[in-house]
Symmetry: D2
Subunit: 408 residues, 4 copies
């Protein structure tokens, strides 16, 4: 900090300082916030108990359902995705409950840690952080639980730390095959609004989401989509809970209100973001993400770099995690030094490798309010950064992406 | 809803429809959001793991301390004030813990209900919703707790439902006189940034606050200021908790970051709001609130109406709750019909009477980004509304306020 | 300037510094800019030759016509009202042309001065700056012009310096009675969007307007509404002109474009402002202005102060100019010292007395994005300012306004 | 227009519809408006006669001088660049005055047409629209004017229609060599803020500029920088003029004000833009433009396309005009069909070929708030568009740019 403590902060001047022109926010969330959403958020706060608010609330609560693929309630919290994880669990589970979770990466691990802090007993099926959930593992474990001690199966739909997706319908099929009554909880924090999602059809009981990824909002809202079975479970769950309680929210939502103070201005932004998603058409939104992900992978391959996700069926449409090449001595070129250089020189933020991926993996976000030319600029920044950082690679990644995009 | 479900929501056009000109948001929070704060919130979201963010975070975390009167950490959550209540309790208490609370009004009651939902055992000293905490009651109860079963005393500093303040220093003195080790928790959700507050000097252990009142932000941030004793308690507390955990936040805050995704754009707004408070000077801010409250009370008295708060030492600088007059048959003129008329005709939102105050009390907020002329307009709207609604009163309330303001 | 020359300007922090809360911008224009308009202006500039722009342009050019009461073209310039004055003259007149103008106040005088600078020969019917145009004067002069040397009659509809309106239909009737072919040019810079206006029905040839008054925009746009006769005159006029030429603009406007670069972002704001005017209904807008003007005059009268306009039929719905009382020695109390005090203490800008009105007249704007409570705050600021400045007056002006507004 | 005339316009929803993600506004002005500038413009309008405004005005008028390379006054108008052309001429010239102009392209031609409309007698040195001003031509013509009938030499510094610059210092040298007293007027509408400019050092008498290019603002402001000699000339000039008069503006500017209503909100934006330019450093700004222009030309050359500008010394740092290839039958591939495709498919606006360049030339803007990744996205859009439109070219233009940018 070069400024003295008493000088004003001037948030606006802290921003956009790393270079001229638009910042490229290519972390896998928060994503680039659209002008329309920001301008909506910029409107004066209104009375959250007044008639205008009710109109807004009812419209949002209706318009968000198709994004989750549900006709059931979607709960919206002031809070982050972490809060929405907690909400899913404290509404439905009791202390000591066993939950089956799968180590797909850092966020699955953090969710498992959260379950432990909440005094649940997570069983964590280990994973290699390069593949998604194996439904056979779920089936095997549930089949070996004749006492039905496992109360919930918790999986991450789009693992933000690895760029690997998991097939939720198959997880449900495995649970059904095992005739196991556990709840199915799915974190699609970084998938919602970017990847087709079918809460009802897939038989998910609680879907957890956040605002700052495919929903194109700043962070600050968490979501739970819930099944009738989850609602029923919430009536008997014993974990202490108050702020996150669904019942009071569902009741108040019927009239477009919330029982406690909602994050009004972020809801303005959500209304605008939902307008934008429906204007484009959800199907088109999801196709767009697939197309940009494929172009990104072609670029990575052209550079001669490795994609962290080892199963092409599980490639994420939202982000691509890239493995740095190794030096002759077997050590990796430093992913974070590379990222720092890209930020300082090209005004682009890339995602770091988290936890055990740190230092040898970086992540490219290609989600949300995004288009072909933003992607080309993004990949150009990566290619220039590799060159500037002296990371061995082949030129031509951007060209490969352009060739693909121009044809599709 | 007159629009079909498929039509766009257009948040901007839902707003400001009840009339022309600026809306007067005179509920006791959310308060009128300043243009500078809204424009700050309108900036694109940045990487919450990048260097610009750290600079922002460190500046905010430093600048907010004097507002709470503390040199200890202030925890900032994505969440509402209700969440901050929960945070205070789950960090420091264990299931079944006895907590002493005081029924100063609706928010004290809701906090007590929250404690119950969290499986604590609140003892609720009953109150008349027209006066603040009686420190003698606290002393008496603590003195009668030789086993030290009471783990916390929880009081509301500025009861938003009644316009009554409580003297926190006296509560602390009563606790000290009883030599009782209970934690002191204070809700100043609607007091922070509007009323002088001295977390450290008053010996408060956890102070709970929110963003949408004197801090002049939209709702969406909750705050805990914490003492060393509270931090120590958090190491032994047994209530399950994860999202609200102080320890991880304190650790990450040292470098200007948060362990989970912070509400970046609301933090931009907080930076700007803190600039504004420090530019005006906290002392001046508090004086301004006192002055506007006094002018409001003079208006209410001139109208011949009754102020809900019966103890002048406990008048709130933030809001004034007003009792509707009674008809000959002993029933009250309808406060909510009056409020609805004021909203529809004069484009001003007033606060409703909550719970047992419903129908016979309304509340005037005079807090946050506010000045003499906004207050005069506000009181003018009340006086015109009383006339239009046929509520018996004497003219001249606005005049009384003007006379006072012009002289002071 | 306390800052050094090399320090950043930080426009946002220069603003809203004279006090807390909203500034009351009660000069007779620029008026208080609505949030919706400001947010519209805040959108990124687009290609003014692209299809989105054409859509915007066509919609604006259509929606603005009813505001002027015309089905003919309305020309929109990047420029101020002064520019629109010049545009009206250079399109239709030739060097040395005689034009008949009426000294209704400072803006009529400035327009006359502009005509001289443009090498026209204005004849200026003298006036007392307290009354509007006398149609009989027009008739008399035109009747005495058998050679038809007078090429245009130029009058101000709403004289911003005095708060006096003139009856345009009567001016036209006087011209018709004299069977004189002169063009009728009307400045309604501060009337448009606030006072009913009928360009076609009243037989006006060129109407001059600006953006920053009843149209609720920032300054930066000028307008000419034009009759077929004016268009015909423009084909033969000899004053050099290029930037202001109607013909090229009319041609380009047919497709929604402009021949030179339009002020795109102000046009965004104009689109939003036109939406707002049509949503409220033009008739309601005009009624609202009448009502607020009447309330203001009642306040002025209650204070025992004199309204500058001496003819009640000519009171302006847009602003009220107030005469300061005299001291025993016959000098006026200082209007500008009073205004300065009001700005510094109550965060309200009032209009100064211009030219020969300076020092003894001030002006209250009550136009644009305005409502009852803003007016009451405004009048409260005047009443407090009178008291604080020691200006002799009677209390009760605000009360008189409230009583009137509550009943109407 | 698909909407009915009575439906609201909703400017915000008209925008950003051609595709998802950020629009790439790569016409050679208006350029991409920075978030900081837009947010500054979004602040409420203030009293342009009040003390806050004076502070703003003084700061702007000081901070803009180095951008023009002058210590003399810079005049700022509400208006477009066309208006600033007119201002330069009507302040300094008299009807029938001979002015020497050079046909460097469409804007030079339009300026010449404007001079004719203003009743001047332009002599137009013909040009091929592919090269800049030849100082020898200027010298020859002035040398052949012993009567000093030529009152001004008018040249375009950066011809926006062709991407060709002219060397202003050499033009001045040619005039000096001819010992001719004509004024030197320079249009740098699209150069200011992007190309180093030295009004004083180069001996320019009137420099004409606009807001929407290198100054990074929306359109709506025009500029004249003026020499003492130009001011002296303005005292004797005979062209009718009023709105554009320098003398009254210079006088009012001394105190930070304007004689007529300034475009307040655009001035907020100008203050912020000047902050940004000075923060980056003008030298760095100019270097950045040079670098991006070079990268663009390398891309064009790699595609095998022709740059319109035939003299490498005159390449523009602001834009690059590109010649479409010819078909076997000698006709050009359609530049406008290509542009339309790029807009519809890739959400990027490119500049059209103007006048005689129409249909066979398109222009790429690389100016203002711009950076490497935006440029790579831009060039990617061109390369994909060429492929999609079936325009013969070689792949690899983006790659060439990346290779250059990565090294420099």
């Amino acid at each position: 900090m070069t400024k003295s403590d008493n000088s004003p902060i001037h948030a606006s001047t802290l921003l956009n300082r790393t270079g001229q022109g638009r910042h490229f926010l290519q972390i896998p969330g928060p994503s680039n916030t659209p002008d329309r959403v920001l301008r909506a958020i910029d409107f004066p706060t209104i009375d959250h108990r007044g008639p205008e608010f009710a109109n807004l609330g009812l419209r949002i609560l209706q318009a968000i359902k198709p994004v989750f693929g549900t006709t059931n309630p979607v709960i919206i919290y002031p809070g982050s995705g972490t809060g929405a994880w907690e909400a899913a669990m404290v509404n439905t589970l009791s202390p000591g409950d066993r939950v089956l979770m799968v180590e797909t990466g850092q966020f699955a691990t953090q969710w498992k840690n959260l379950a432990q802090k909440l005094q649940l007993q997570p069983e964590f099926i280990s994973g290699d952080w390069r593949t998604g959930v194996n439904p056979a593992d779920i089936h095997a474990r549930l089949a070996a639980d004749p006492e039905r001690e496992i109360k919930a199966v918790c999986v991450v739909h789009n693992e933000t730390s690895t760029g690997v997706t998991s097939d939720i319908a198959s997880v449900r099929a495995a649970m059904d095959a095992a005739k196991h009554p556990a709840l199915l909880m799915v974190d699609t924090i970084s998938g919602i609004g970017s990847i087709a999602y079918a809460h009802d059809q897939w038989g998910v009981d609680v879907t957890i989401a956040g605002s700052q990824k495919g929903l194109m909002l700043p962070p600050g809202l968490g979501f739970n989509a819930i099944s009738d079975k989850a609602i029923e479970a919430s009536k008997h769950a014993k974990l202490p809970n108050a702020y996150w309680r669904w019942d009071e929210i569902i009741a108040a939502n019927r009239n477009g209100y919330w029982p406690t103070t909602p994050a009004t201005n972020l809801l303005y932004g959500l209304a605008e973001a939902l307008d934008m998603l429906h204007e484009e058409g959800l199907h088109n939104v999801f196709e767009r993400h697939q197309r940009h992900a494929q172009a990104t992978r072609l670029a990575v391959q052209a550079w001669g770099l490795e994609i962290l996700c080892t199963n092409p069926d599980q490639y994420s449409p939202v982000l691509t995690a890239v493995v740095m090449p190794k030096r002759a001595d077997g050590t990796y070129y430093d992913a974070d030094a590379f990222r720092k250089l890209v930020l300082g020189r090209y005004n682009m933020s890339l995602g770091t490798g988290l936890n055990k991926l740190q230092g040898w993996v970086f992540r490219i976000g290609h989600l949300g309010h995004f288009n072909d030319l933003m992607l080309i600029g993004t990949l150009g920044g990566v290619e220039m950064g590799l060159a500037a950082a002296g990371v061995p690679h082949q030129r031509g990644g951007v060209q490969a992406a352009i060739d693909y995009l121009a044809k599709s």
